[in-house]
């Protein structure tokens, strides 16, 4: 054993021991949502703590995506409240959620197809850019300085996600796995406090899934971003997440550490036993 070898620190394993309670970032209280009589979400409560990776799992149609849509203001629940950083949120538009630090990716990649990778990620900086129309028209001076400063930030993300080779490729031409990565990059460009990932690994092969898992962990550790993700692959969920909430038919049936959830009979019945 040499001097340097002794220096290595094994990164903390998730779940190992109950850590001191972290600050609650977002709290969902008794939220219900329905569309013309069809109940999508019934009376769901859970919280997301600062700095954790929180998984939301459940069979198809369990209301997971609807839950994300409620969190970032795309749907307005008929009942219940959402508390964000200690404040109860009233009806909120999606762009307001964005400006308060909630970013997300989509189940079916929702990139801006007409733009390049670079422009797509730049679009994530929209909220951070403030030069008004008149500077934009001139482009030289402050607007260009701003554009360049943000380009630099975007390049950090490109570097982080290792997508240098596709920087100037229109996203429509990229393979699916890379599109997902660009979408993650776009969300990261918002420097969000809470990052919602809707099935970040859907339709990926094993290698791509491993890459994506690594990126998610890196985002969480390097930037301290709180992450809530929906995922079908149980292996991935168990590896990645600190805590898991399980939905079924719009109701919450379990909530806790991955190991606990995995052991819960109700979850096994409702979800794990069912093949997808």
């Amino acid at each position: 054993m040499n001097a340097v070898t002794a220096a290595k620190v094994v990164p903390a394993q998730p779940v190992a021991a109950p850590e001191p309670e972290r600050e609650v970032l977002l709290k969902v209280d008794n939220v219900s949502l329905s569309f013309g009589g069809v109940k999508a979400i019934t009376n769901i409560s859970f919280d997301i703590r600062k700095g954790e990776i929180r998984a939301i799992i459940g069979p198809n149609g369990a209301g997971k995506t609807s839950m994300l849509n409620v969190i970032n203001g795309f749907y307005h629940p008929q009942q219940g409240t959402i508390t964000w950083r200690g404040e109860v949120r009233r009806k909120m538009r999606p762009y307001e959620a964005a400006s308060q630090g909630i970013a997300r990716t989509f189940q079916n990649v929702a990139l801006f197809k007409g733009m390049t990778t670079l422009d797509n990620i730049m679009s994530g900086r929209t909220l951070k850019m403030h030069r008004n129309f008149f500077w934009q028209v001139l482009h030289y001076g402050p607007a260009r300085d701003e554009e360049i400063a943000h380009r630099r930030k975007v390049e950090d993300i490109i570097d982080f996600l290792e997508i240098q080779a596709i920087r100037k490729t229109p996203v429509g031409k990229l393979p699916y796995g890379l599109q997902k990565r660009v979408e993650l990059g776009r969300a990261l460009a918002m420097e969000p406090e809470l990052l919602l990932l809707d099935e970040p690994m859907a339709g990926m092969n094993l290698e791509e899934k491993e890459d994506m898992s690594r990126f998610i962990i890196d985002v969480n550790q390097e930037f301290g971003t709180t992450i809530a993700l929906i995922e079908h692959d149980m292996g991935v969920v168990m590896d990645l997440s600190d805590r898991v909430v399980v939905l079924d038919y719009g109701k919450k049936i379990a909530d806790g550490a991955p190991a606990e959830v995995q052991a819960s009979q109700e979850v096994i019945d409702a979800y794990l036993g069912v093949s997808h």
Binding site: N72, Y95, A98, M115, S123, T126, F133, E147
Partner: protein, 358 residues
Amino acid sequence: MFYREAGQFKTTYEADQALFPIRQDRIAMGLILAVAFVAIPLLANDFFLTSIMIPFLVFSLAAIGLNILTGFAGQLSLGSGAFMGVGAYAAYKLTSIFPDANVIVLVLISGVFSAGIGAIFGLPSLRIKGLYLAVTTLAAQFFLEWCFIRIPWLYNYNASGAIEIPRREVFGVIVTGAEALPLTRYFIVLSIVVVIAFLVANVIRGRIGRSWMMIRDMDIAAELMGVRPLQTKLLAFGVSSYICGVAGAMMVFFWLNAAEPSSYSITLSFQILFMVILGGLGSIAGSFLGAAFIWILPVFLRFLPGLFGVEVAAESIQHVTFMIVGALIIFFLIVEPHGLARLWQIGKQKLRVWPFPY
């Protein structure tokens, strides 16, 4: 093939994000400007300036205006003709009220009025999308046209109901009215078009341009990225209408000398829309190409029979032009829905990767 990009590397973001990052493109642009500012004035006769170049430039500008709204921000509009009319009438009223003011400045200011009216008619765009929005803009088209007819104040209570542009001088040079020289008009129109096109190119590659394209490509995602849909769309309506307004004012001040409400009818709206579609949605260069195509093709068709010594009635030629334009639109939509600009892009890409196919 003519592109020699090897060795053109960028050491700053300024250079990387320049309007024309490739040297050969910069040279080509320089050549085009040289032709426009030097060669054409030296070589062209009055007919060429008055009947081809000036209208082409005016329509190009209008097409750029509509392209911002439809091509970049993705909001279909059938009312650009009326917004051009607003600019024309506003400029006319301004020069009537302030006869001593610089008429070029007034033309540029007139766009502000159409921008305001455009923004008002853009309000419904928050709730209404796609084809439904076309109805809103049709409402604007017919309502404004009606205003041009029914509000005599707008045309200074002329018996004819038309506006006639008085003679105005700027720095001792006659710039409007019947005595204004075609060359003078040409330089004014060209300068305004070049400057506005350049400014638009700036906006497009910045935050605002991106916001427009975000709304166009996926409005829901755009909103979740923090784009405020209403502001962004209204800005697009405003900027688009401003440019259309200026184009409309230039149309009557520097080209036609006189205009009546029917000059700004739905036919004009369609004509501009065709230019945008044929030229290419979401492309500034395409706006010029589309305008050239739609304006110059009929002129060409008018002369074509003469070249073969065939006498054809002017009316028939107009009808045939309609048919050809209609057929070409369908043809283009089938062959290349993204218009001439995309063809140009493809061609350029081919030249860049030559001799490779990709």
